[in-house]
Symmetry: C4
Subunit: 365 residues, 4 copies
């Protein structure tokens, strides 16, 4: 089955994230789709991430004075036009020739921020060059502190403004969909910024590839604290779900926490992150920077996430769908749609600004 090429304009029937998913599925080959859409094991967490938003209904407020309202927010000292960040997604040249460049351009044009994956298929410097707005750099622990710090310093030198250390994937997820399909990176697509992977220890007989292999290279709390102390950039920890871990992250010197289950790609039957938001917010206090991702497809989801305690949100697969459909233009358009949905939701819930979005807007179903 031949695949459709990317669009160079936005047709009138592209009016929501779901439409971009539909279009992307006509444009991506099976290999890329399996990687993009799949998750761990039975993908129950992937589904839960999408459905969890329906556990809260909105209780709107009427007739308030909302003139001059806006969606601006300030993260790490930088003002953004809206609280919708682009999450780190690896190997974006799988989805569109411009890959991570398209992402960074679109985020900047729309007044927002993007997080570049350390498995970017484009050099982090090249991405920084085209960006018109703030960029953050996602990284994995590189086996030891020095290697990790070196990568952080390279990102800082290129102009990135924050680090996002992903802590929820010390071992690979059991991604059965990828395994069944035999997913592999096509020629020419690779993680260009982290060429040499840390070397795994040699296992002795009876040792576990998980406990004695991968986990030997995984970071621990004291190492993370070391990184926070030495990093040239503020460090957010991504992949935290337990309120006690969130507090420990702040105590270790993190600049913030991203509540996430990694898009359901690592451990199936995990909780959707948004369900833990209120407890995490309570644990870290009102001032700590707290973001969330997972299953956000509508401006009303953003509204709910903020009502439950988030300062901002990240989207992942949806912007890749838009990128696959129409490159940077698609990503920018999707951001515009989501922001407008957020504005409409705020207006109908009587909120002039993000700070007005409180738990009282929600009814638990």
């Amino acid at each position: 089955m031949s695949r459709l090429p990317p669009l160079s304009g936005i047709p009138a029937d592209l009016v929501s994230a779901a439409d971009y998913q539909r279009h992307a599925r006509q444009r991506l080959d099976e290999n890329a789709l399996v990687y993009l859409e799949g998750g761990a094991a039975d993908e129950l967490t992937c589904q839960a991430n999408l459905q969890v938003w329906q556990e809260w209904a909105l209780l709107p407020r009427m007739l308030r004075d909302l003139r001059g309202g806006h969606t601006r927010c300030r993260l790490l000292g930088q003002e953004l036009q809206h609280p919708i960040l682009l999450a780190p997604v690896a190997y974006q040249q799988l989805f569109h020739a411009e890959g991570e460049l398209a992402t960074a351009m679109a985020a900047g044009v729309m007044g927002g921020a993007a997080v570049l994956s350390s498995f970017s298929s484009t050099s982090l410097e090249a991405v920084a060059e085209v960006a018109q707005g703030p960029l953050w750099f996602q990284l994995y622990w590189q086996g030891d502190g020095e290697r990790t710090l070196a990568l952080a310093e390279r990102a800082a030198a290129a102009g990135y403004q924050a680090l996002v250390l992903t802590v929820d994937a010390p071992v690979s997820g059991v991604r059965n969909r990828e395994q069944r399909a035999g997913f592999q990176l096509p020629e020419g697509v690779r993680a260009v910024n982290v060429d040499e992977s840390p070397r795994l220890p040699e296992l002795q007989s009876g040792q576990s590839p998980v406990f004695d292999g991968l986990l030997a290279l995984a970071p621990r709390w004291d190492e993370v604290a070391w990184l926070c102390r030495h990093s040239p950039l503020p460090v957010l920890l991504k992949g935290i779900l337990h309120p006690a871990d969130a507090r420990q992250a702040m105590q270790a010197g993190a600049a913030g926490v991203i509540a996430s289950n990694h898009g359901g790609r690592v451990l199936d039957s995990q909780l959707p992150a948004v369900k833990m938001l209120p407890a995490i917010r309570q644990s870290v206090g009102a001032e700590a920077l707290l973001l969330v991702d997972g299953g956000i497809r509508r401006g009303t989801d953003v509204l709910k996430a903020i009502a439950l305690g988030a300062d901002a949100v990240l989207i992942g697969r949806p912007y890749v769908h838009a990128q696959a459909t129409a490159g940077a233009l698609g990503v920018a358009h999707l951001l515009k749609l989501l922001r407008e949905e957020l504005e409409v939701g705020m207006a109908l819930c009587g909120c002039r600004e993000l700070a007005d979005i409180t738990p009282e807007l929600l009814v638990r179903l």
Copy 2:
């Protein structure tokens, strides 16, 4: 696919609102159907409106003396034969050549009331002329008080008995189904009573079409209070869901409140109005006029709405299905079916009159 013409009689298999929906789908073109059946975004609230009624089961009472029972109610000093009003629906000539005339005639013949939309495709005076029962007039805020009052006075002069100010749609809903289908009004169908829309302010760069555009024309509590003071007719506020807003409405001088989420057409993932009824009733007190709409398809739904605190209900899409199927005759027949279902429900729940319908009849499932 050719569409069936309206019926001039009622076939024996038309015995419920669901049957009229089925028939209407065979008679309306795609453009009209998209407008009628669609809602905001993913239409989750549309679906919730329908399903919410199953959250309560009826617990019937036996062997009471019910002779002389009836469904009469008194709203704004006027006696109606039953508590099922026809909600404002715009552009009814989309659905049947007689449009709003059919609606008004049917309501009157059945001893009930209809609410004319300010986006009526028929002149409000012409509708008033054919009506045989009470008519209310729905209006949107016309950008300022004077224009709004002028419209109200025109309705009063034509004989309308109450105003229904819709407050839950200061900005357009994100109606993806309409957008995807490219819905537009066919030639000859337009809002004949409010030809000139209020002019939107010109936006400066960086301003939001929502907050700085539409909301600049939206009413606020003080303006609504002003309207209530100067209106020649009692003013109900439609689109209230929060109990505090309901109380504020009464304090602002409203004659009553219509709990509604606008048929799920404005903000998706809103709560079904009926879920808020008990709290709203408690908030406004036993004497305040309180109506509800959303998803009512059976007389038992009416019974439940009243048990939860409503004085009366409004139906929307169901009577348009009946109108599309058989014009005024269809609408009258549908009202007869619903009233009979209500009577049977009352009889089996041991209720002689609407005042006997109390929360004790319901079991929360």
Copy 3:
């Protein structure tokens, strides 16, 4: 489509009530099926009746001494081999040529009891003649006490041992499935025991066929008390769901109560009767006779009903499926299956007799 004739033996694949339903659907014509399977309005209560049993799970007990266990029960002074009665079902000649005769024979052969409908298509005396076990007679109020008592005395004279006064259908249900299909009794099938229906009062203009028509003929508490005093037989009231009504029934002199929603055929969105059983049992006390029907398809359902407070249960549609499939033989076989399922359930829950079946066996899901 030609229909299959009834069977004269039981094939090996008929091993449950569900199998009989499947067979019956191949044997009954559409008219009979619509009447048998249909219910009120959207048939939500019909479905709820079936599904409600899954709200409780069984928590079995092991290794008790169960030798000599049995399913016998004593109702109104008469010992039955099992607590599964055949509910009154009208017009059984619709389903099998032997109609009510088959039902009565099967019940007796299996050591149980049957309740003859007052809309029996066979004379009550003829049914009594073939019966080999206890028969009860179901009746509707005949418009006044004298006519009702006359029918009761006729049943007593024929040997019936109890009366079941159905009180939950003073008005007809809104049976849309029947209406849509144009159901009517075929020639030769009629209610032979109550030829003359009570005459409805003539309605004046504006009067309600429900409140001023049917309900004028419906019984009230004082009339029921009068019947209980004068009846030659004990009177059970069938169709009670509210605990207060159940207590009032006992105070009015009833010999017992049958908790029922009339198979979902009268008022849709009513509660399944079994959900009210514990409250009814508490209301009427441990000694009162309390039966239940609605959706029982398995011996484990019987077990649950008894655990929740019933002394015995009635089945309706399932035995008609069996009758349509294989006449009296089918009905007897179905009773055998259900009784065996009940025995197995009792054995695995550590119950030697019905009195051992207590609420502790159930876990609410």
Copy 4:
């Protein structure tokens, strides 16, 4: 339809228990499938066993030091590499020519234990001969203590290390799927270890085949206590769900309890065993040996079972699917998959060993 032969290697698309089920369905004939996949009555408990695991979500913990972690456990004084035992399944030659031999070999190779069914189609001595790890022997009460003890002693002599006395099937389940399909053992497959079934008592007229027949041969608490006292091997009781029964089992001298509903094959609408685990653990105390089975298909299910109180788990149908697909190789591979999933789950939940798996990891949904 011709069936596929077993595989001699593991294709790349076999990456989970679900994949083995899919493969097994292509390889087993209808007769074997009906026996393997079916359960009691409507198979509601079979389904519930599978779905119950989704009632808990995992709440992972990050950045702990997990080096040197492992899945080892010690049961009855014997160390196993992982806590996933192979449950007793009868007549395994139905599924693969090597039947129980394949099972025992695979369990041993993977460092685990298997439980041989007393309805094994292979002699218990032959199985013991090929085993490379601990074997337990499942037995039913043989009608009296002496016969039961004789079987136990034969197992002990052959090297089995524990007895698993199944107490939840004193009467046969109502397995409608088997009945409808006319399941029977093919020639050559039979229970070779218990050739002579205990003789049922002759029933007198009116006696129940359940209460007076099968249950006359079923064991009771005092007999079980006698067996525990005289048995050459520790005795676990399998099929306990009620906490009081679990405590009584320990008081009767049992070496442990296996919470189980027999794969949903005996009494439909029973509770999934895992739902009772916390209460059973509380009842028997922290030191008692407690296992569970039912619906385990993923390493995360094992994790949840242990978090809820189990020391180890058993799997049944899944390893038969693997056996049918690829014999001993398939069973070993499935165990490897499940153990790896467990390791990944432990790693992401911050658990170095099984003792770290506590209820705090779970969130009730």
